[in-house]
Symmetry: C2
Subunit: 216 residues, 2 copies
């Protein structure tokens, strides 16, 4: 039996690949592993059956036999440890790839989530006009630092790794922010990710869920 | 030669153990490994020599021979993989402990950082009175979910692990927020962490840096 992951029954991003199941789908496609998907509604995510799998009532989860995992970073790492293609063999390079996974989630994602959430939910607040540039500048700081490190390189540390996969899924959330236009190295980096066949397959699979839900 | 980590020359938390080098110090103490510390000023963190070690110009970093790592999560994981005491031997339990590391950093820490940063830097803003309860409620949501999962258990998943270490260092940032009083299970959980001899040694070591800087 292939592992089962969970994903939004109705993704708020309308199938643009910003939901966190995309990371797990992409990782599984990179290593050539099949998987099943169970869709969950927003209501079901907060019910005891799902909270038993994910204490914070979110997606994705990952079930494989007796093992239940939550957190996209942990699931991608679990897959990367068990299959070739997402982590270098050399011990130091492997540790650095893992560092980029943590950097994506701990250092780059939080200000991006704050910005995109404010753009969605704080537009009508009195403080929006004053806070928006502050939030954009926090993201610009990280994009500038990342861009300087990346330079003209194809990937963050030599070969494509789970670190790139996590970083690119985090950065793609900025697609509608306009900020990526200011960082051509990062835009080019994201294009390299989007062009990977495994990315395309994962993207089409999550888009198909949204398309089917829209038709029904 | 023991590994060298970096820490703030002058920690903004005044030695309360909230800076991220605390996580690395604690992990090294748990596994009984000696380490050297290099202190860096806020100015030096943004200079090329440090940015070569840490692309986002932060602390901690970790240098061991040819290996340079950044991100506290990645450094703690690197230590946990190489020494006994921070990750279970059983494969599934190990994956779950890693999931708690990611949960601490990706799901629990971001709203805590937002709250504590707003309490420090947004007190004089027109929106503070309106935003503060919103930020507190975001943290309460996570604390409630974590408290329900933890229940009366000593640790998040059976034995103490790097997942607990990361979660507890994240939660300790709430010490001055008053919110921990609302969650007795979490307060008791944190007390168990604080009582560990390795925690005490790490705490005293980082406090000694602050005390020495204050005297000079």
């Amino acid at each position: 039996m292939p592992p089962t992951i969970t994903a939004f029954e109705t993704s708020p991003d309308r199938g643009k690949g910003h939901a966190r199941d995309m990371r797990v789908r992409w990782a599984l496609e990179e290593v050539g592993q099949p998987y099943d998907v169970r869709l969950v509604s927003f209501a079901a995510m907060k019910e005891p059956a799902h909270v038993a799998l994910h204490p914070f009532g979110q997606i994705p989860t990952y079930e494989d036999g007796d093992l239940v995992l939550f957190e996209s970073g942990a699931i991608v790492f679990h897959i990367a440890e068990r299959h070739d293609g997402l982590l270098p063999k050399h011990a130091d390079a492997r540790s650095r790839a893992i560092a980029w996974m943590f950097a994506a989630l701990s250092t780059v994602e939080p200000p991006i989530v704050e910005l995109t959430m404010a753009m969605l939910f704080e537009r009508d607040r009195s403080w929006y006009a004053e806070r928006l540039p502050m939030l954009q500048d926090r993201v610009r700081t990280r994009l500038g630092e990342l861009s300087r490190r990346l330079g003209k390189a194809d990937w963050l540390d030599g070969a494509f790794s789970a670190g790139d996969l996590m970083m690119m899924t985090v950065l793609r959330r900025l697609n509608t922010s306009g900020l990526l236009d200011e960082y051509p190295e990062i835009a080019a980096y994201l294009s390299r990710g989007d062009a990977r066949p495994a990315f395309r397959r994962a993207f089409e699979a999550q888009l198909a869920v949204f398309t089917a839900a829209s038709r029904s």
